[in-house]
């Protein structure tokens, strides 16, 4: 029995890395093919290959960025902005991404009404969530470390270190929490259809209220049937077709669909 168990664990130890390596090899292969297709100008093939890479593993900011580029080249501004916005959740400080996103946004037909947000929130948007996490972890270790030191050794330097680390720890904890909330509870979506009519109710017969165009950012709320309740700005809300508007956060799609 004991031997059987050792054999079983041994097999697992060999098979799991082998599967992972094989999987990585397939991903890399599809990724190379996608890059080649992109450079050849076959953007649809590039999208298919990038999508297969995304489907077989964890997403990365660069993959979303590349998808955005393919859609931009195909003239599909709505989908391009959707993927650039998804990439922003991973590589918010990438200069290529910021450049391309700015260019894509400039091609959106609808005029965005400026929202007044706190300057600190705008500053946080330029930080990757992972950067904030590691900074926060560093300050977390430092703060609790100095607390432990002060249990055994109380001195002036330890007091001032405790105060300084405490302030840094609080700031980083709040910043990380705010950014985490922003990323994980992002209800924004993008209009991917070239134009969509927003109606007063979830039906074709309902009164058309206003029109939105590809690339416009909206807030997604609940859905009924094939319709989604969206809000463009304060006072401009209504029902748009689900297929015309896609939420930026993928988990949100799953949540809404279920």
């Amino acid at each position: 029995m004991k031997r059987l168990l050792i054999l079983y664990i041994g097999c697992l130890l060999i098979i799991i890395p082998a599967v992972v390596i094989a999987n990585n090899g397939e991903r890399l292969d599809a990724f190379v093919k996608a890059n080649k297709a992109y450079s050849d100008g076959d953007y649809q093939l590039a999208i298919n290959n990038y999508q297969s890479v995304l489907d077989t593993g964890k997403p990365t900011g660069s993959l979303y960025y590349n998808m955005g580029n393919c859609y931009y080249k195909m003239g599909d501004i709505g989908w391009a902005i959707l993927y650039y916005e998804r990439a922003m959740q991973y590589i918010a400080d990438d200069p290529d991404l910021l450049f391309n996103l700015k260019l894509a946004r400039s091609k959106v037909e609808d005029q965005v009404e400026k929202k007044s947000t706190l300057p600190i929130i705008n500053t946080l948007k330029h930080f990757k969530l992972s950067t904030l996490f590691w900074l926060m972890m560093l300050s977390n270790i430092g703060f609790w470390g100095i607390m432990i030191i002060r249990r055994f050794h109380r001195s002036e330097w330890s007091y001032y270190s405790f105060v300084a680390l405490g302030i840094i720890w609080v700031i980083l904890l709040v910043s990380f929490s705010a950014r985490y909330y922003e990323v994980h509870y992002d209800n924004r979506g993008v209009v991917v259809a070239s134009q969509t009519i927003v109606r007063s109710g979830p039906d074709e017969k309902e009164t058309p209220l206003f029109e939105l165009h590809a690339g416009t950012i909206i807030a997604c709320e609940r859905q009924e049937g094939n319709w989604r309740l969206v809000q463009f700005t304060q006072g401009k809300r209504g029902w748009a077709k689900i297929s015309d508007t896609i939420p930026i956060r993928i988990k949100q799609i799953r949540n809404i669909d279920t």
Binding site: N35, T60, Y65, N69, K73, L103, A104, S106, F133, M136
Partner: protein, 594 residues
């Protein structure tokens, strides 16, 4: 300083003789002897166009002196002159001292016409100074004012001309007449499609007589700007105010009469005005006409006019004038063979005054001839519509000649250094030729998932929670241990604490001895505190392993100390007591078992 009288002196000239009655002596003392400001004389009037019933305020400014002067002013024979007082100014800015005297006169026109006042002439320290001149146009009495003159307050409006060309500045003048006390004035100007009214300068205040009654007048001038042609109706202008009414006391005269005033809201409206805007004539319109209406001039300067080949000269062209100065055009510099041209940013200045908009635009070029020879620069022309003459005019600069002598061969790359002396380097804004996205991320790192993204939410939470959990664990583990350690340490140090306390003060009192001994017992027995009675001390010591004799000794010494404290009498010397406490404490320290 008070001016007493105005005496006619010679034909066409009035000598104004003054007698100084009071000059504040302190001001004279404060005036330093090192005033360096140069002496100067100038005159100005508050308005250039008045009606026969209006007054004009004439100010003669003598700068660089604090002494009284007797100016003679030419051209006052058609006015009645009344003194308005004298004021002296003294200022010191950044160490520069300046002083001046302003002499004010009110002029009452005697007849209609256009008059030139000045120059004023003054003699200071044997030297004669001469001022500028000012022109005043006196018109007949304003009919609109006389029609309403029965009212204590009324408002009139007037246009500088009932007809104007599009682009021409038309003045819309509002005059508010009042001979009662008013406050909180507010003006409501006409609004309409196709025209805008913009106030010019500050409102002027003066007095005027309408049908024999004296009125105070507030005059506000506006520029009327319009781009449309045809007939323009301007709604009446409204002036809102509070009129102060004095309430008389019931019992006739009262010293409080002046305080009993009430403000009554009131408003007056002017008559509407009509203006016809004519379009600019098509006939004889110059091809380079850009819509400029008014009176303009153009000047050009080339400096230097003789340079070696490869060096630069500066060409400056200045357009100045009055009218719609915002439309002053950029002069185009034609290509000149063998001359490289570097343009500078044009400098525009626009002034707004009661007489309308005036301004000037200066354009500069650095010309760098590449070859020796004689070059002809210009002429440069400017076309505008003269609103005074009602026709198009073209003014131009004379031709300028540039002589270029042979110079050392200049490499074009070195030109900017040459230019530095003439004009500042002109920076160019970098603009996109076309817009496109940046390429895809095709490096293998694009597939790398960061460590953070690999972590699940639970793992992240655990990572955050680990440091505080470690801290809590340490706190719990070391809490009991730390406390016991501290207590043990205190009990060990109890004897040394007692000895220190007893030997610290030479004049120790018995009550302090008792206190210190109690502290010793508490510390050594690891008690939380409190005072032990002699019996309690004996029992606790016996239970702590101390033999009975030593416990009895402790009991008796506490009794002795307490008796000494409470009765004030002791059969033992204080030093003997101290010694016996020290010896007893030493024995107890050894005898008490931890």
């Amino acid at each position: 300083m008070v001016i007493n009288k105005v005496i006619p002196n010679i034909k066409g000239t009035y000598g104004i003789q003054m007698k100084i009655k009071t000059i504040p002596f302190i001001i004279l003392l404060l005036i330093p002897s090192f005033i360096e400001a140069s002496t100067g004389l100038s005159i100005h009037v508050d308005r250039s166009e008045v009606s026969l019933s209006d007054t004009i305020k004439l100010t003669i400014k003598v700068s660089g002196t604090q002494s009284a002067v007797n100016p003679r002013v030419a051209g006052l024979q058609n006015f009645r002159v009344q003194s308005g007082g004298t004021s002296s100014n003294f200022s010191m800015v950044n160490g520069q001292v300046s002083s001046s005297i302003d002499q004010t006169y009110f002029l009452f026109p005697n007849k209609v016409g256009r008059f030139t006042i000045g120059p004023a002439i003054v003699n200071i320290s044997g030297k004669t100074y001469k001022s500028n001149t000012v022109n005043i146009t006196v018109r007949k009495k304003a009919t609109d004012a006389s029609q309403q003159s029965s009212q204590p307050v009324f408002l009139t409006v007037s246009l500088s001309s009932p007809k104007a060309y599009v682009g021409q500045t038309v003045f819309y003048t509002v005059k508010f007449y009042y001979n009662v006390s008013v406050r909180d004035l507010g003006i409501v100007l006409p609004e309409g499609n196709g025209f805008q009214l913009k106030q010019l300068g500050k409102p002027s205040e003066y007095s005027s007589r309408v049908r024999g009654k004296k009125y105070n007048v507030i005059e506000i001038r506006h520029a009327l700007v319009t781009e449309r042609t045809g007939s323009l109706s301007l709604e009446p202008t409204e002036m809102k105010m509070n009129v102060l009414e004095r309430k008389h006391s019931r019992h006739g005269f009262s010293v409080f009469d002046n305080f009993f005033t009430s403000a009554r809201p009131y408003s007056v409206r002017s008559k509407p005005a009509k203006l016809t805007i004519l379009s600019l004539p098509e006939a004889n319109r110059p091809s380079e006409f850009t819509g400029l209406v008014g009176e303009f001039a153009i000047q050009a300067q080339l400096d230097p006019t003789r340079i070696p080949s490869g060096e630069s000269t500066t060409l400056s062209i200045k357009i100045s004038g009055q009218g719609n100065v915002q439309l002053m055009p950029d002069i185009t510099m034609p290509d000149i063979e063998h001359i490289k041209v570097y343009s500078d940013q044009p400098v525009i200045s626009i002034n707004e005054s009661a007489t309308g908009y005036s301004g000037e635009k200066t354009m500069k070029w650095a010309l760098v001839p590449q070859k020796e020879g004689d070059y002809v620069i210009g002429p440069f022309a400017l076309s505008f519509f003269s609103s005074q003459k009602g026709q198009y005019k073209t003014v131009s600069t004379p031709q300028m000649h540039l002589t270029v002598t042979p110079g050392k061969k200049v490499d074009m790359a070195s030109l900017p250094a040459t230019q530095d002396h003439a004009l500042p380097q002109i920076k160019k804004e970098v603009t996109f030729f076309q817009r496109d996205i940046l390429p895809v991320h095709d490096h293998a790192d694009a597939l790398n998932v960061s460590i953070y993204d690999r972590l699940t939410n639970w793992q992240q939470l655990m990572m955050i929670a680990i440091p505080p959990l470690i801290y809590l664990l340490i706190v719990l583990l070391f809490y009991r241990k730390t406390r016991l350690k501290l207590e043990k340490l205190t009990s060990k140090k109890a004897l040394s604490h007692l000895n220190k306390a007893l030997n610290k003060n030479a004049n120790l009192h018995i009550s302090e001895m008792l206190k210190f001994f109690n502290q010793f017992l508490n510390e050594r027995l690891q008690r939380s505190g409190g005072t032990l009675t002699p019996d309690e001390a004996k029992q606790i010591l016996i239970s702590s392993g101390v033999d009975a004799d030593l416990a009895n000794n402790t009991q008796s010494i506490i009794k002795t100390l307490e008796a000494a404290v409470y009765t004030g009498q002791s059969d033992q010397d204080i030093n003997t007591l101290k010694q016996s406490i020290e010896e007893l404490a030493k024995k107890l320290d050894k005898g008490i078992k931890s």
